[in-house]
Subunit: 339 residues, 2 copies
DNA sequence: CTGAAAGCGCTAACAG
DNA sequence: CTGTTAGCGCTTTCAG
């Protein structure tokens, strides 16, 4: 077992310069003569030297590590977001330390403490609710945090989401235009801001047309619960259209409708989801949905976080990015609308 | 901006003990009197003290960080594996620093260097090929690495996979028993050990029955390429059964078969995949496949890695875990076989 | 521009 | 068991 990291001192010796000179050549905002840099680079190369990020973090107070808390990787939206987030951060010289949180709220606090132990420069919380204690704790530790795909009611934390309210409205308008009047909603987890906003937008647009929700059941954002909710909802007086709070559940709803209840989509019932996960585009589902613009959400999240880190800002920003309704085959297309 | 981490020195002062006493109370293999521990814990609690993991890592040489390299999060098998891996590691007091690799081999080297910069205690490479230089570099750095869901031909690295060869055989035997004789194969990326092993097992069992592969096309493990491969394969003299090298591609193959080519599954053609990703179980696909026992693969991977880390072993272990054929509706069930 | 020196926060001998 | 003393490898004043 050869634990052999080359140190800057060794490089210094070989290059015939001081250890600080080595440090300077590898520190972006340096000030070293061309000649020194050259000698050092050469020696470093020969020895296979690379700076120890942890040591650097200790003294500089900047670890270039971002803690990412994420919960449901089963919902395809999250692996996708994780990938984009991590790539964007990597591109900016940061790396992601990942923490999987159970959905149980209590757990989150412990997770955040653990993250803080790593002296992360910032935290991205994807789709988890934060207690205000927690956000206070991070603020006290001087670690900025931004919520991804969730927002907090108290405006204490930066958050990036899609425009869930507007998305909910679009879906209602679309369903209404399609002639539907018996419209059901399969909700996700009631505690989520995404759920509340999507439903609120949906209901409001329905109300403006004088239509009330025909039926409602909760699927908690899981496929199993969504399937169960579907069975309940369709047991008697079934709706002729359903807005499912996210695509992940909508897939299960469609399977249940078709293969358990023997219904035709969209002839017997229209189904609309939210997120536009990859599976929504698969031909077997061909799910009409509102796209959450993951790229722009990620870009904004990273932007806000790094701005807070690098410019020591603490301004709270909350962004909701509008996403388009993606017309596919799972819902009746209103006359005049083009796919 | 209050960058306010409490230090062990501050706790020591408040508790009226030495700084080392504080360190000892928070170091597992400690030796401190009950009274001291109590005083320290109290003071720490009051101050909200938590040890700085990075500082600890510097002096102890153990960061409790595991670098995880992963490539295609789009294939559902990986988010699932990532989740289990991370959870298992978290349970053992380690955390995961994630690195997304492009599939381009050259990139990997740079990624590994970056990982090493973080003084990780070990590396898990999920589904990426390693140059032997690379493995040499890690060995030199004293950082153990284990491959997950890939193995290396030169036996220089520990690797955990499912028994891909046996899986391939099972599929051939199943298809043969179902009466198929015109059997096609849609391959993944030719460079992957999983591809080679699955296909080798498949071909060998076919050969034993005196059956040759009817047709073959490569899908590179992507949905688009798999769809294209399907179109090519079915353009003329189509097979009556296809073994697709993984589920991710198989989903695209099924969609293409059904919705573009208008074929019935399994009446016109049987489709079998490999992995048993969540989507394989969704009713819209109901895909017959060989399950990769993710839990056991993860358990073994973590076991091997932590053993090398904690016991300073460097024994190379290569494990292939047998996974069952999961009978579903996408392929004709042979008489006498029960679902 | 460059070297010397002082730590970052912590663990691990080392005496007591 | 406990305090004292060295550093881990690096960045950053501080003189020069």
């Amino acid at each position: 077992m050869t634990k052999n990291r080359v140190t800057s001192a060794e490089v210094a010796e070989r290059a015939g310069v001081s250890q600080s000179a080595v440090s300077r050549t590898f520190t972006p905002g340096a000030s070293a003569s061309k000649k020194t840099v050259e000698k050092v680079r050469k020696a470093a190369e020969e020895l296979g030297y690379r700076p120890n990020v942890l040591a650097r973090a200790m003294v500089s107070g900047k670890s270039r590590i971002i803690g990412l808390v994420v919960a449901y990787l089963e919902n395809q939206f999250y692996p996708e977001a994780l990938e984009k987030l991590s790539n964007e951060l990597q591109k900016r010289g940061y790396h992601v330390l990942i923490f999987l949180a159970e959905q149980t709220a209590g757990n989150i606090d412990a997770v955040v403490e653990e993250i803080l132990d790593y002296q992360v420069d910032g935290i991205i919380a994807a789709s988890v609710a934060m207690s205000s204690d927690l956000s206070e704790r991070c603020r006290a530790a001087g670690v900025p945090m931004v919520l991804f795909n969730r927002s907090q009611d108290d405006g204490h934390m930066s958050a990036v989401t899609s425009d869930n309210y507007a998305g909910g409205r679009k879906i209602a308008e679309f369903l209404l235009a399609g002639g539907h009047r018996k419209i059901g909603h399969i909700a996700g987890w009631e505690g989520a801001s995404t759920q509340r906003d999507r439903e609120a937008g949906f209901i409001s647009a329905l109300a403006e047309a004088g239509v009330a929700l025909h039926s409602r059941a909760a699927g908690e954002f899981t496929m199993e619960k969504a399937a169960a909710a579907t069975r309940t909802m369709f047991a008697s007086d079934p709706p002729d259209a359903v807005f499912v709070a996210n695509d992940h559940m909508a897939l299960a709803v469609m399977d249940t409708l078709r293969f358990e209840l023997g219904l035709q989509i969209p002839c017997d019932v229209s189904v609309v989801g939210f997120d536009d996960v990859p599976a929504a585009g698969w031909l077997a589902y061909d799910l009409t949905t509102v796209r959450q613009p993951a790229n722009r959400m990620v870009a904004n999240t990273v932007e806000i976080l790094l701005d807070q880190i690098e410019n020591d800002t603490s301004e709270i920003r909350r962004i909701a990015i509008d996403g388009p309704l993606i017309l596919r085959g799972s819902a009746r297309i209103p006359k005049g609308w083009t796919i």
